[in-house]
Symmetry: C2
């Protein structure tokens, strides 16, 4: 149940191009909120809302030192999303294996 709620939040967080771009940028290394905000044609307060949302889902961690808040990617949360997708893939692949076996069995029976 907790995992379900976590996945709900993670998928909502990823459903926005600005937040996905932040995740991508942080994949290359930590960055300050100011550095992260630079490429985006939105106000800093709007950008900070995206950062807070990413932080609330655990996708990023932030740490304040003086006036600078540094953001770091938390890969574990993306691994949770990857894990869900991998489970789905396993289900299809099992099904494909069963279908192949069925076709093979039919051919052998002929």
């Amino acid at each position: 149940m907790a995992k379900h709620r976590a996945l709900d939040g993670l998928f909502v967080a990823l459903a926005d191009p600005t937040r996905r771009a932040v995740i991508r940028r942080l994949g290359a290394g930590s960055a300050s909120v100011g550095e992260l905000a630079e490429p985006f044609p939105i106000t800093l307060p709007s950008f900070v809302k995206h950062v807070r949302m990413l932080e609330s889902t655990g996708l990023i961690r932030t740490r304040k030192s003086g006036r600078v808040r540094t953001c770091t990617l938390n890969r574990d949360r993306l691994l949770l999303v990857e894990g869900w997708l991998a489970e789905q893939r396993e289900l299809w692949e099992q099904r494909t294996d069963r279908l192949e076996q069925f076709v093979t069995d039919q051919q052998e029976d002929q």
Copy 2:
């Protein structure tokens, strides 16, 4: 841009436990809306809204035959989500490789 919009919709569609459960169920094979709705303690009209949303993002396809609407998973759309995650993983891994190289270079310099 079209890919961004597609990803936005896909992530929104996956941000719901009922819709994720439908995706999982359809991974095991096609099913009618009635069969899919059965395990859920919600009304059929509420369930049909979830089905329509999944269909609008292309995650599932539906086909009506007589009074029965059959749903099928469209794996290509989940592959788009997998692809985005794989891109992120590649970025971290490149970074980890660079960090390892840096540490190795430092050790060799000592």
